[in-house]
Symmetry: C2
Subunit: 211 residues, 2 copies
DNA sequence: CCTGGTACCTACTCGCGAGTAAGACTACTG
DNA sequence: CAGTAGTCTTACTCGCGAGTAGGTACCAGG
């Protein structure tokens, strides 16, 4: 809260990380517009001119946050997914990785999903980019595994729906944090792989037993 | 654009509608914070004090917009859905009504979905309320039709995922307006009813032929 | 111990937008 | 044609927050 007079002298790289962490925290709680540079500097434990010296304007700072968090998330998913497997297993591992990341990085997720997508400005670009990478990935998985190759548009829209279902479920999860990540991931897996039609009949999907 | 000096004298009810329309337009384009009361008054063709005289503060105006558009949308869906039918048919008619509304009310949809959900304030309440009514509806449909009754939490989360898939697909649709509403609705229907598992095998859902 | 460079600060400017005061125009009503 | 109720305006105040000017503390190397 920065009640002390002067902050300890630290190398630039370290300060920048501190500032970014503070920015993600504040942006996630307040949103881009409501967040003030004054508050971010307070949380970061430094004074406002430092923000401008290191990270530039408010917009630049925000964009940098988006970029950093998006990269962290995509890497988490890329690490978690298992290529050269059956389509359902790939999807399953991807979902687990996604919900695992969200569970451990609520603030990151809120900045990415809530804030970035609602600011029409140049920020969304980073986000749209990441999102479309995810959509393309799913679309490719779909196209590659389907017997009757659907149109590009069809695969893409289905992928968009799936990604949206994931986002929405993650959002719902924020209000029900008692649920474990695996359970939430499994639910979505069942929905998109089996469909309500099967679920209504009591048919469920379960991961192939391994190991 | 209000280049003329004085606006024509009109009864309050009519002005209020004009103002609301202008507000929805501006909010949908700019977002809540970026939108200014000055611009809304310009678009509405009147001066700023009229806004305050008729619709109160900016927050009140926004909340009123949300409420109006949410009501319009829920009514559209309620009108479109066909009760006392098989679960899949009910879902299908609901999806058609939803995408039909979005297709014809882009601005409304953007205000509802993008703006309202991203403002943490008291606005979201209206939205959350509407959204949870939709989720409850789907959850009820699910619970009622499933043989092995799942837990409340399970039904609710699946419903949240479904609603989210719908929202996301609607969002995607904004970027691909050439697609007809029926096609988009049918895609989502197939995804959530059949599941990828069936789609991959070439099994698709189609509406029962009637009439 | 000076000299410069980097980290860091206090204390401003300045524009933008929410909200208002005070009055002017129009139209109906007796 | 006066009164009055409701519509509509111009022309402000005022706070908040982005961004900056102009320093002060601290640590090198000479």
């Amino acid at each position: 809260m920065r009640t002390e007079g002067r902050a300890k002298r630290l190398p630039r790289a370290v300060r920048e990380r501190q500032i970014m962490d503070a920015a993600v925290d504040v942006f996630s709680r307040l949103g881009f517009h409501a967040a003030s540079m004054d508050e971010i500097s307070e949380v970061a434990g430094i004074s406002k001119p430092m923000l401008y010296a290191y990270l530039g304007s408010k917009e630049e700072l925000f964009a940098t946050c988006i970029r950093r968090e998006a990269t962290r998330m995509m890497e988490a998913i890329a690490t978690g997914v298992e290529p050269d497997q059956e389509p359902d297993v790939q999807l399953w591992s991807g979902l687990r990785a996604f919900f695992g990341f969200v569970g451990e990085n609520r603030a990151s997720w809120m900045v990415l999903h809530r804030q970035a997508s609602s600011q029409g400005g140049p920020f969304a670009v980073e986000l749209i980019d990441m999102r479309s990478r995810a959509v393309s990935l799913v679309a490719a998985l779909l196209t590659q595994s389907t017997k009757a190759p659907a149109t590009k548009l069809e695969a893409e829209s289905l992928a968009a729906a799936l990604v949206g279902a994931g986002e929405s479920l993650a959002e719902w999860w924020l209000d029900h944090p008692e649920e474990p990540a695996g359970v939430v991931a499994a639910r979505l897996m069942n929905l998109v792989w089996m469909g309500f039609g099967d679920l209504v009949d009591g048919n469920v999907w379960h991961p192939p037993s391994r190991r």
